[in-house]
């Protein structure tokens, strides 16, 4: 189990240090700083073993969060906890920065005491935590006994993530499908690897204890229905629209037994924002952009680069925040760029040409050409030609996932599925989207 948790700033100074077990000494704090934060190598393993002690770390902007243990723990559990910890802190005081952490250190220690007990992770649901860990320290005294016992029963009860007696005048529901698409493509346009990792994030403002049911175009469900039903056209449509999900994980509120038996996703939602599910697909991915590179070496001192990008989605949709990053050789001494659309600039500090386009519609094409001057060097090594990478945001799900329904049932209060206002949004972002040149 986790023996201790430390938070460092970028210099390696300790901001928060909470030790849960005796086997973690003060020197562990320094060991991590010396061996990881101040390590000379660029690439750091998220798990480091120093003197029989394991350090698991995540980095948020300039802040390092490190969990320490001497035992053989489940690394996935530790990382899950660290991510949850980040979520909780963000929910309480916004961006995780040195200043915010310093300003809220009392709160953080309080949170740490609550979500980690003797190194064992406890309830880390923000909604539940907020009922009894508040930023107004005095509130606790004003709570009545009744309220306190209610909190206790809720936190320790079966549905720890939702309290009773929530009331909204307007029952509203927001559903975001956020996907990031990862790609590695050969210069000839052959897909070497591609996958989408997606999340379904919900914001629910519903009264009472509603029972929700979520449906999407999962291939297994559609096929089952197709079999169960009689018509062939469902099968036909499913062949086109259903997607194969490789693996998925759910929020703790989802009834897994029901998912296992019927593959239906039913749950009592927490109040506020939460991540309902995470999934990954590798088949039939819609690649929103295609990058066509052309690199020509003219003698030893010149390089000509031409890159064409093509958008590959419905013309009515608009992609945003497009950025193409073309790496330049290490001995570049000057760059001239011409582009038809957007702005392009040579960034010496990153050894790359960065081309930015604000907006681009589907089924369009744009081009950039650059002349790179090189300085002859003694070094005989050839330039390794790193891949061209791309960033963008598109208003659809590249995996093809569609939300089919989200039904809300509340038997005690008298509002029905129709009274709930539902909003659905799809956002596809680029993960690591690279094309070799």
């Amino acid at each position: 189990m986790i023996g201790g948790l430390f938070i460092y700033n970028h210099k390696g100074e300790v901001l928060i240090s909470r030790v849960y077990r005796d086997d973690i000494g003060r020197n562990a704090v320094d060991a991590f700083r010396v061996n990881v934060i101040h390590a000379r190598q660029q690439v750091r393993s998220p798990v480091t073993n120093i003197a029989r002690t394991s350090f698991f770390h995540v980095k948020r902007s300039n802040i390092w969060l490190a969990a320490v243990t001497k035992q053989n723990v489940n690394a996935a559990m530790v990382f899950e906890f660290l991510y949850k910890m980040c979520d909780v802190m963000t929910a309480y005081f916004g961006k995780i920065s040195e200043e915010n952490i310093k300003n809220n250190f009392v709160l953080i220690y309080e949170l740490l005491d609550e979500i980690l007990d003797f190194g064992y992770p406890q309830n880390s649901e923000t909604g539940a935590l907020k009922t009894f860990i508040t930023q107004q320290g005095i509130k606790g005294q004003h709570q009545t006994k009744e309220e306190q016992s209610q909190i206790t029963s809720q936190v320790t009860g079966q549905i720890g993530w939702r309290r009773e007696g929530i009331k909204y005048r307007r029952n509203e529901l927001f559903l975001d499908v956020l996907e990031s698409v990862n790609l590695l493509m050969s210069p000839q346009g052959q897909v070497l690897s591609a996958h989408v990792s997606g999340r379904v994030v919900m914001k629910s403002y519903l009264s009472g204890m509603p029972e929700c049911k979520f449906g999407m175009n999962d291939k297994i469900v559609i096929d089952k229905q197709g079999k169960g039903g009689t018509t062939e056209d469902t099968g036909k449509s499913s062949g086109k629209q259903s997607i194969a999900i490789d693996d998925c994980t759910f929020h703790q509120c989802v009834r897994l037994s029901k998912f296992d038996s019927e593959r239906s996703i039913s749950f009592i939602p927490p109040d506020g924002e939460y991540e309902l599910m995470r999934y990954r697909t590798t088949k039939d991915i819609i690649l929103p952009f295609r990058v066509i590179p052309l690199v020509r070496e003219v003698g030893r001192t010149k390089l000509e680069v031409k890159v064409v990008i093509k958008s590959n989605f419905k013309p009515s949709l608009l992609a945003q925040k497009i950025e193409v990053r073309i790496p330049t050789p290490l001995n570049t001494s000057g760059v001239q760029v011409i582009c038809m659309k957007g702005k392009a600039k040579y960034k010496a500090s990153e050894n790359a040409i960065v081309w930015k386009i604000k907006r681009m519609a589907g089924m369009k094409e744009s081009q950039i050409s650059a002349e790179i001057e090189l300085l002859p060097t003694n070094d005989k090594k050839k330039w390794a030609r790193p891949p061209i990478s791309m960033n963008f945001e598109v208003p659809f799900a590249p995996s093809g996932l569609k939300v089919r329904y989200l039904k809300v049932f509340e038997s005690k209060l008298n509002y029905s599925d129709h009274d709930v206002i539902k909003w659905v949004r799809y956002i596809g972002r680029s993960g690591i989207y690279e094309t070799r040149c």
Partner: protein, 983 residues
């Protein structure tokens, strides 16, 4: 160095460095550096020429980036350009970049060398210095090749500035150290030596480093420097502290130069010229006198400088070792330091005194400080100082103070650091032995030693006690009494049990008169320790028990009971089990006379160098135990213990199994493979005579150095058969060269090589023997590779080939002798030429003997030479084959065997084996394609023997029928036997 003018401030560089320092993360730093690199690249690429200032600035930035750990692959050309600048700062940065970044194989080296040459020939001293510094900093062979001839000229030229001379001298030193063959002084020698007379002290200091280094390589050429150095030294020493101005350091005149002069003088013997010598002695006296003067300053630098000169002078005095007066004074001076509050000084004093103690003149003087040193050993806080104190005590020990020193070291041992305990133990053991006047004292000391630091007492130490006790009959009674008392302690170290077991087994009778130590009490005492001991010790104790039976017949019943119990006679350890069985039988069968002869008291050991001393030498490396020490020990050790390391050592050797080096020492020296009395040869042969009618010629009882050992092992075969199997055939008793009997697995090993010529013949923990062989007609050549698998060298490594039975006349094997030493991890090769005279059936024996860690290893293998090796394949048609087959139809010409398959009946494997046999494998001969048919001719010197072979496998029954027909009946029989094992 000229001051940097304001315009050379290089603001850009300062800004860049402060930017880097302010970076919050590694990533930010890399970004900043990338940006700067791009900027510099564009500047260097730019068409318009850069001025010297910006060039310098950018080169500086590149240097800074490089020193941060990033690769720099451009800018070299610009740096080389800077070299030709006339401005000091630009030139300096250029040289800096070159010496840090340019590697020797760069193509720019020609340009650089050219620039350096120009600077060297310029008249500007700063430029010359810069060039010299660059040469020295790079210091590569290429630099030496280019400039080694140029620099001595600069060094001795009359018009060279002093500062340049200093740089030149040090530069030359550096080149000399990297490539001494290129720096040839020759004609310059005398002029370089005369630099010692230079007016400028800096030049002298630089030159003396060079001269010291050169004169260490060829002392004769630089002999003249001695008198110059002496006069220089006397001028410095006698000068007042104010005379030398710049070269006075905290009131000490030129301390560095003085130290270097004294060190230079240590390269040479004392000067022969009386005047020079007188002057030198005077100098040394002055230095010693000055040490007595009150310090001129309280500063630590003052005393450090003064002491540095003093210690260097003392080492010179020790080096000369010819001035009793000075030696004694030095010793007294060091004596004062022994109580100084500065730890470093105490350490140095102890260290120097160690060397002083070995000089005959100052030995007595050193001895006067014994109390202080003992005190240091007890109270010093630093372990390294304590270690030095212990060294000094060891060095100053002689007959007069041995008792005191040994007692002190013993008492210190109880609290000593673990790191130095083992060494201390060895030292105590050596001193106790070396200066023992009274042997009871010696025995007491060593037993004490074992009691206090049993874990650190090595085998050698207790072997040595036993050797001495056995060789001196006046101490035996006392020793028995003492060990008996020591064993009564509730917790005894195992080494103590070993000594006790050995000594009581030998001399228990001497104290048996006392009712408190009656035989039964002795036995019970020993046996109470038995179960707490390791196997080798138990083995030793068992031997002690059988000796008890001999010494005290009244204990016989008790001991036999012990031997008979299951834990002995069925012990899982082979060695223990065998001993128990054999001793039990021996005690019940043999008459008392026989017992008394077999278990006679150990004879005295011959003289030998103390094994402990050898161990200490090995531990400390050569040089630390001085020669006088050695001679002493030989002289004194020899006269007083007429005993060498024969006893337990040899017993251990004899007892260690031929193949496993288990160091089980043993009273009787019984080998697990072949037990034999370790009593001298006469006893051994007697044993043979008594038990065996078919005894071989009694082994000669010659007692020469290692003949003893061989004698010990000689009657192996007979005794083996006697004691283990009752009476056996003693025909196979090996000849007098006496190798061990072949290993039981030798036959199996032999079979492995019937169908193949190369491979690993034998392997155990110590040794691996590989084999490679080729045969043509009746001749063969075999390469044997002996690999030492341990890290210890094998000594007296010998191999011999012998021919059992009639083989002598059948086979001729010529061997070349191997080197007697096989280093740890090394492999040696031996070539054997083999000639087949006539057909044969036995295999020659290869006997290997060597010493591993003192224990003799004896190993006998069968050489994989079988008759089939001399096959010549013969191709023939089916018709021919069957014709010949019918010709060889006499019953004795045919050998047939039907046997079960030992291995799978895979066709390919079978074919490979038959091909490996050496004969031709004939296809389409036998009507049944399942069968294999081979034909070949065995070539011997006398005749050729034709052989035909049929192998009929029956895969259902997993059986083979093998039929051989040869023109000579013995051949078919032998081949049939050999082949039957293969399939």
């Amino acid at each position: 160095m000229p001051a940097v003018s304001k315009g050379d401030g290089m603001r850009g560089l300062a800004v860049f460095i402060s930017d880097i320092r302010n970076c919050k993360s590694k990533e930010a730093e890399i970004k900043r550096i990338n940006k700067e690199l791009a900027n510099i690249r564009s500047k260097f690429k730019g068409d318009k020429a850069l001025d010297g200032y910006s060039k310098k600035k950018y080169v500086c930035k590149l240097l800074f980036i490089f020193l941060l750990g990033h690769d720099i692959d451009f800018g070299h050309m610009e740096a080389v350009n800077l070299l030709s600048s006339n401005k000091y700062t630009e030139k300096q940065i250029g040289y800096l970049f070159i010496s840090v970044l340019v590697n020797s194989n760069s193509e720019l080296i020609r340009l650089i060398n050219n620039a350096i040459k120009n600077d060297l020939s310029s008249r500007n001293p700063t430029f010359m210095c810069l060039a010299l510094h660059c040469i020295a900093n790079v210091g590569s062979r290429e630099m030496a090749e280019a400039f080694a001839s140029e620099i001595p000229r600069i060094l001795v030229a009359g018009d060279t500035m002093d500062s340049v001379k200093q740089s030149a001298a040090l530069c030359l030193l550096r080149l000399y150290k990297t490539s001494p063959d290129l720096v040839l002084m020759g004609e310059w020698t005398s002029r370089v030596v005369h630099l010692l007379n230079d007016q400028h002290m800096g030049v002298v200091t630089a030159a003396i480093s060079l001269i010291t280094c050169l004169s260490q390589k060829n002392p004769d050429e630089f002999k003249t420097c001695v008198s110059l150095a002496v006069s220089r030294l006397s001028r410095i020493v006698s000068s007042a502290s104010t005379d030398l101005q710049d070269y006075t350091y905290y009131f000490v005149p030129a301390p560095w130069l003085s130290c270097k002069l004294l060190r230079l003088l240590q390269c040479y013997p004392p000067p022969e010229d009386g005047a020079v010598k007188g002057r030198l002695v005077e100098c040394l006296e002055t230095i010693l006198n000055k040490a007595q003067e009150p310090p001129k300053s309280k500063k630590v630098q003052h005393s450090n400088a003064k002491n540095a000169i003093l210690f260097e002078a003392i080492s010179l005095i020790i080096h000369y070792d010819s001035e009793p007066n000075l030696l004694v004074r030095a010793c007294n001076q060091l004596g004062q330091f022994l109580q100084h509050r500065e730890t470093n000084l105490r350490y140095l004093a102890l260290e120097s005194m160690c060397t002083l103690a070995s000089s005959e003149f100052s030995h007595e003087a050193v001895k006067t400080h014994i109390e202080t040193v003992i005190n240091a050993l007890k109270t010093e806080r630093d372990v390294s100082v304590r270690q030095r104190a212990a060294d000094l005590l060891y060095a100053m020990c002689d007959r007069s103070n041995a008792k005191q020193i040994v007692a002190e070291m013993l008492s210190y041992l109880e609290t000593a650091d673990y790191s130095i305990r083992e060494e201390m133990v060895l030292k105590v053991a050596i001193l106790a032995e070396k200066y023992a006047v009274d042997y009871s004292w010696y025995v007491d000391t060593i037993l004490n030693l074992i009691r206090i630091a049993g874990d650190y007492v090595s085998e050698e130490v207790w072997y040595r006690v036993i050797q001495i006790v056995i060789n001196r009959d006046d101490v035996q009674g006392y020793a028995a009494k003492t060990v008996f008392e020591a064993l009564q302690a509730p917790a005894c170290h195992e080494n103590m049990v070993k000594v006790g077991g050995y000594i009581l087994g030998e001399f228990g009778n001497l104290i048996a008169g006392d009712p408190r130590s009656s035989p039964l009490v002795q036995f019970n005492l020993l046996h109470s320790k038995f179960h707490l001991c390791s196997v080798p010790t138990r083995a030793l104790l068992l031997s002690a028990y059988i000796k008890f039976i001999n010494l005290f017949p009244e204990t016989k019943a008790t001991i036999q009971e012990v031997l008979r119990c299951d834990s002995q006679i069925r012990n899982s350890d082979v060695e223990l089990q065998q001993r128990a069985v054999e001793y039990l039988k021996l005690s019940s069968i043999a008459s008392t006379d026989v017992l008394a002869t077999v278990l006679e008291e150990m004879p005295p050991f011959p003289e030998r160098e103390s094994s402990i001393l050898a161990k200490l030498k090995k531990k400390k490396g050569p040089g630390t135990v001085s020669v006088t020490d050695l001679e002493d020990s030989k002289r004194e050790g020899g006269e007083l213990n007429g005993g060498g390391e024969r006893g337990p050592d040899t017993a251990a050797m004899a007892s260690s199994n031929a193949s496993t080096p288990s160091p089980s020492a043993d009273l009787l020296g019984i080998r697990s493979a072949a037990p034999v009395g370790a009593a001298p040869a006469s006893a051994g042969s007697l044993l043979v005579d008594v038990f065996s009618e078919a005894g071989p010629a009694a082994p000669s009882a010659a007692v020469n150095d290692d003949g003893f050992l061989r004698d010990l092992e000689q009657p192996t075969a007979t005794c083996d058969s006697l004691l283990v199997e009752g009476s056996g055939d003693s025909d196979s008793a090996p000849p007098s060269e006496d190798p061990a009997p072949p290993l039981p697995e030798a036959d199996e090993l032999l079979n492995k090589f019937v169908c193949k010529n190369n491979g690993v013949l034998f392997e155990n923990q110590l040794l691996q023997i590989g084999i490679k062989s080729e045969y043509r007609q009746n001749l063969g050549r075999m390469y044997l590779f002996y690999g030492n698998k341990t890290s210890v060298q094998f000594a007296s490594f010998t191999t011999t080939v012998s021919y059992p039975g009639e083989l002598q006349s059948q086979l001729n094997v010529q061997t070349k002798p191997v080197e007697p030493l096989v280093e740890g991890g090394a492999q040696i090769q031996q070539v054997l030429n083999i000639e087949c005279l006539t057909d044969f059936s036995d295999a020659p024996l290869l006997n290997i003997k060597f010493r591993y860690g003192g224990a003799l290893q004896n190993l006998t293998l069968k050489l994989p030479v079988t008759i089939n090796k001399f096959f010549q394949p013969t191709e023939m048609t089916s018709h021919d084959f069957f014709q010949r087959w019918k010709q060889l139809s006499q019953p004795q010409q045919e050998a047939q065997k039907i046997f079960k398959a030992n291995h799978g009946m895979d066709t390919e494997v079978l074919k490979a084996k038959l091909l490996g046999l050496g004969s031709a494998l004939l296809d389409d001969v036998d009507p049944n394609p399942e069968n294999y048919v081979c034909a070949g001719v065995i070539q011997t010197k006398g005749q050729q023997v034709g052989c035909l072979l049929r192998l009929e496998p029956n895969s259902q029954a997993q059986m083979y029928r093998l039929t051989l027909r040869c023109s000579k009946d013995s051949v078919s029989k032998r081949l049939c036997e050999l082949l039957a094992e293969q399939f």
